[in-house]
Symmetry: C2
Subunit: 299 residues, 2 copies
Amino acid sequence: MFNLKKYLGEKQAIINRMLDEIITNDSSGLSSRIVSAMNYSTTAGGKRLRPILCISACEVVGGKMEKCLKTACAIEMIHTYSLIHDDLPAMDNDDLRRGKPTCHIAFDEATAILTGDALLTLGFQVLSRNNSDLSKEDVVKRLDIIHRIAVAAGYKGMIAGQMLDILSEGKKLELEELKQLHLAKTGALIETSIYSGAVLGGGNELQIAKLLEYGHNIGLAFQVTDDILNIEGDSDFMGKAVGTDHDRDKSTYPALIGLSASKQFAATLIESAVKTLEMFDKEAEPLRAIARYVIERKK
Amino acid sequence: MFNLKKYLGEKQAIINRMLDEIITNDSSGLSSRIVSAMNYSTTAGGKRLRPILCISACEVVGGKMEKCLKTACAIEMIHTYSLIHDDLPAMDNDDLRRGKPTCHIAFDEATAILTGDALLTLGFQVLSRNNSDLSKEDVVKRLDIIHRIAVAAGYKGMIAGQMLDILSEGKKLELEELKQLHLAKTGALIETSIYSGAVLGGGNELQIAKLLEYGHNIGLAFQVTDDILNIEGDSDFMGKAVGTDHDRDKSTYPALIGLSASKQFAATLIESAVKTLEMFDKEAEPLRAIARYVIERKK
């Protein structure tokens, strides 16, 4: 029986060590406050879903984790930057994230803006670090991954999603609009995490296509589940407030189609995600278990 | 006699067209507000110093402008992002930039934060766009340039400079600290603009080293001149307020060593910059003229 808890714990430890190594590496001099704030926000206890998916996708196609570990961490830094900026007073104005004061509360607003900027930029710095023994194929892959990540994180991806999310407060979105918002805001980077791992692991076209489909479905299920947790979750356990979507009059799946239909929808997405892994044998157990975890999680 | 005004005007027009093409390309759908704000800020009448330096460095080593035009524009987008974020209320709180309302005034704070994020990310998207006919050497160069730009823009470069700038308000910096601040905040990206152009243009090691030295000197001279203009400049002509450094009790060259010594220092830097171009013949006229322009400009 596959032990997901142990698997996640092991991967998280590896990712945490690498993130620490990247961020504190040669941090002397000018940048100590930004380095402190980057460390504060990256060690605030995230689930590491994106980097773990990247590693799992790399391993499911037979690649070694080392092939994608830094890429996985770069994606986590980019994800963390987006949380820091989303939490700012001018955006979602959240004081608490994962049970700890958000970056602009622990430091200040200027530092939080710059720290987000720094994590995004450091992500690309890590992604573009060259290694003289890379083959042409490897360098081309690396460029492709940088491009995909920039698109997913950019103004047609994550940033578009956040902008829409803010603009649509107090407005009733259509179901299809809500889906597009979520795919942009959360789905694109989750998909790209999986894509990057699969490419760096040496996956073939069919494997990559199937894994992207898997990513598409769990990305959406993840967000639907977030909406559900914002109603049903335990705020102490989650380390953030619940009921905030309703207070802000936000369009969510539960608000549009009801709580029970939302749960059914998330379950269907996960079923589809698991089904797209049919071509893999037991090496896909982690990805199957993560898919189920996405909707069963309590935070 | 080399006509700098004509040269700058021609390059600016080319850069402006390309920026417009990049930003408005397929801008339908989710992202229209961000696209409007990106357009607003990139067309707000900048001097285009960084992209022009990139192109001039490419051309001085015999490269065609097409080799580096998109890179030049990516650097300008990254520069523009930094201005948008620096102007935010939590940072320098500036309402006016180049005579126009700053992004957060023309739109709102959330949009300005996201637009800065979007320009930074789009910069990396443009830099990593692959082209199937690139040689391995070309792809490696591209990766190297992405890396250099990320470092220059990152937490040890531009972001470190901005953080220090904020932290040092009301404090008296040592001259050496002020120099380090400026080299990080402005110098690093200016140097990298020149480096990128020289590499993409096919410059050899010696040429690149000399051009980097040139960039180092004009970058610092640029900032010293900014300090001087903040005292002596014509606010109508510059499109921004003067006297603000003094009001904010900021460490500047004039405050530390006096106005006349600051002018002398800037002139010496430009002399050194021109001297490093000795190995080039008349093809370096644009770079020589730009060096002189850096300290003679009125805005």
